[in-house]
């Protein structure tokens, strides 16, 4: 198929519903051929942004470019982007083949070629030979694939996906995540993917834009989003995290009486939040040294929650702050035990002081 893909340039896109900003002066550069995920809670504006890209929502202002062409005023049927809808939106009065052939028919492709290309697209999603079936006869996963085939059959240079896997059960979803990503790598079209599932975003994306209240909170690679969140919202939304208030004074980061080391030079003086991921904390055995690359925190074990592949240890610090530590599910220390926790300097992330969302 074609390897042509287009970069997308969003600038200053704004959409208000009454006094609420669904999109608040959003700037976003999506590279040609990139798999970009818009990640955020429901009502964050991620779907609104996608519908602006598709042309279903007219923004109040701003610029949207596919390549060099300004698209913000172009109606949806002239945008030539593929889209997979959340509930697939397969036409119930058409067969599978007619659904997949629909965009080709609109482009005045010859009937023989339509049949051929529709079948080829169905083969690509491993549904070859299903063309004659009715949509109602298909399972959820099969409908999902038909919707995908319909979106790729006319070789659009941009692909939009609105939570395409949310209606599938967990196993199928994880399987389809990998399959979707492989299909993207094969076809090379610029893809914008909307989801509220952080694991899905981390698994599939080249870059993730975390969105909240109509604004992009952070735009980064999955690793950077997880390891180096820029603010409390991103740290809280992605993965598990606990926050401890710390004080920065004269270039030293202090947690209560203790001084912590950080990977990057400490920020300006003032109150900060220390973000800790439960799985990055280690419980040190008796007499075990933390090592040079780690910070050390003293704590008391309160309770252990068995979770199968791991256990969650709930601990409190000297000042009563609660904290979670993830560890092996093999029997741990008894509640009430005094613990020493170690965390790598790399994983000691400082954030601006913000109240919980």
């Amino acid at each position: 198929m074609s390897n042509a893909s287009l970069p997308i340039s969003v600038s200053q896109i704004t959409k208000r519903y009454g006094k609420v900003f669904a999109l608040d002066h959003v700037d976003l550069e999506i590279r040609s051929g990139e798999f970009m995920t818009l990640l955020g809670p429901s009502g964050s504006g991620k779907t609104t942004l996608l519908t602006v890209l598709a042309g279903f929502t007219r923004p109040d202002g701003g610029s949207l470019k596919f390549g060099d062409a300004e698209m913000v005023c172009v109606p949806p049927h002239k945008r030539d982007v593929g889209m997979v809808f959340q509930n697939y939106a397969l036409f119930p009065h058409m067969s599978v083949a007619d659904n997949v052939g629909f965009p080709l028919k609109l482009r005045r492709v010859k009937p023989a070629e339509i049949a051929q290309r529709a079948e080829r697209a169905l083969e690509m999603v491993r549904l070859g030979g299903y063309g004659g079936r009715g949509v109602e006869q298909l399972s959820g996963g099969q409908r999902q694939r038909v919707a995908l085939a319909r979106a790729i059959v006319f070789e659009p240079r941009i692909m939009l996906m609105d939570e395409p896997l949310s209606a599938l059960d967990k196993q199928l979803r994880e399987h389809m995540q990998i399959e979707l990503r492989q299909l993207h790598d094969k076809l090379g079209m610029t893809t914008v993917y909307v989801t509220h599932d952080q694991r899905e975003a981390l698994t599939m994306s080249d870059r993730i834009a975390v969105i909240n209240s109509g604004r992009i909170m952070q735009l980064d690679t999955p690793r950077a989003i997880y390891e180096r969140p820029k603010n409390r919202f991103v740290a809280e939304f992605i993965g598990e995290s606990t926050f401890l208030p710390v004080t920065v004074a004269q270039g030293r980061v202090r947690l209560g009486e203790q001084t912590l080391r950080t990977a990057t030079p400490p920020p300006a003086d003032g109150q900060r939040l220390l973000m800790l991921r439960p799985e990055r904390l280690r419980m040190l055995g008796a007499g075990e040294a933390a090592g040079d690359a780690s910070n050390c925190i003293d704590a008391t074990l309160v309770a252990t929650v068995y979770q199968g592949d791991s256990s969650l240890f709930q601990v409190v610090l000297g000042d009563g702050t609660a904290l979670s530590v993830r560890g092996a599910s093999a029997a741990g220390p008894a509640p009430g035990a005094l613990l020493r926790l170690a965390v790598n300097v790399e994983d000691t992330v400082l954030l601006a002081m913000e109240p919980a969302a």
């Binding site: 598709a54 042309g55 279903f56 109606p75 949806p76 049927h77 002239k78 945008r79 030539d80 982007v81 593929g82 889209m83 809808f85 509930n87 939106a89 397969l90 036409f91 119930p92 009065h93 629909f102 965009p103 609109l106 482009r107 319909r150 006319f154």
Partner: protein
């Protein structure tokens, strides 16, 4: 089969010998419970069934019997024979179908855009508008019909205004003809078209139209290739209801047709009121009933009626 849907299927015990079930505890008691539940349901429909029997089935049977009696009270097919031989009967049936067909067509032409509009506006506003659409049904049919007579007659409101405004010079013949009959009939029938159309259109997921646009269909194209087919069950229901109601419509065509537009129902009334000929009237009634039944059957082949009349959900 069993109203609570308890799984008694062969899924698990398929390979076991039948009869093994009897060895289970409480088998008799559970069967009795099933039976009582079914009897309870039957008791709920019994009054309605009785009513239908007394007011529908018995009179229709009586009607059928009367149509087969000659004026002397002997068994004969003379009423049906007369209907076949006299061209005036053919004309009556032709007029009936003409009025019914034209009314249905006009109802579609007026009702489709209206239902479409209602399905596009917010639900609260649509509900208000729907009350306006249904308002005529709350007024007496006779009142509405005579109101039209006042408006449409030779020295009526419309003709007076038209002449005063200089739109036309001579009074138009708006009533006591096909025009008047159609105006009145359409006015009465329109809600029966709009209601099923609106409910079918409301239930169409707008994502289908978005998908069509996304795939390259212009608004007009997506309307014809996606919206119209998906709204088709509603259209067919509305058309069927209007057409069938028109076939047997009496008051409005009789008043606004002024004796010039004679439909089957008027003819039946004449046979009874003027000629006291119950046999002839019954034969006409039977033919009308059979024709209506045939149309419903034909329509049922075209579209699944249970879905149409029950308003099947579309996901």
């Amino acid at each position: 089969m069993n109203p609570l849907g308890h799984a008694r299927g062969p899924t698990q015990g398929a390979q076991r010998e039948s009869g093994a079930e009897d060895a289970l505890p409480n088998v008799q008691a559970l069967r009795r419970t099933d039976l009582f539940e079914r009897l309870g349901l039957l008791a709920l429909v019994a009054p309605a069934l009785l009513l239908i029997l007394v007011t529908m089935l018995l009179p229709v049977g009586w009607l059928f019997y009367l149509s087969l009696l000659s004026d002397q009270g002997t068994f004969s097919l003379e009423h049906y024979q007369r209907m076949w031989e006299q061209p005036s009967y053919a004309r009556t049936f032709w007029t009936t179908f003409q009025v019914s067909f034209l009314s249905t067509a006009i109802c579609i032409a007026l009702g489709y855009p209206l239902a479409y509009f209602l399905s596009e506006i917010p639900k609260r506003a649509a509900n208000l508008c729907m009350i306006a659409v249904l308002l005529p049904l709350w007024t007496s049919l006779l009142v509405r019909t005579y109101a039209w007579l006042v408006l449409l007659q030779r020295r009526g409101l419309i003709n007076n205004w038209g002449i005063e405004l200089g739109l036309w010079d001579e009074p138009l013949a708006l009533v006591h003809n096909l025009t008047g009959t159609l105006i009145g009939t359409v006015h009465v029938m329109l809600p029966f078209m709009v209601l099923p159309l609106y409910s079918a259109m409301r239930s169409i997921d707008r994502n289908y139209l978005r998908a069509a646009a996304n795939l390259g269909a212009s608004p007009l194209r997506s309307f014809w290739t996606v919206f119209v087919p998906l709204a088709m069950p509603g259209l067919l229901t509305g058309a069927l209801i209007v057409f069938i109601l028109c076939l047997g419509f009496y008051i409005t065509p009789a008043v606004l047709g002024g004796g010039k537009v004679i439909m089957v129902s008027s003819r039946i009334a004449n046979d009874i009121e003027i000629f006291f000929n119950w046999g002839a009237a019954s034969a006409l009634g039977v033919v009308l009933l059979v024709v209506t039944a045939l149309i419903i059957l034909a329509a049922a082949r075209l579209v699944r009626l249970d879905g149409v009349l029950g308003g099947r959900e579309r996901v």
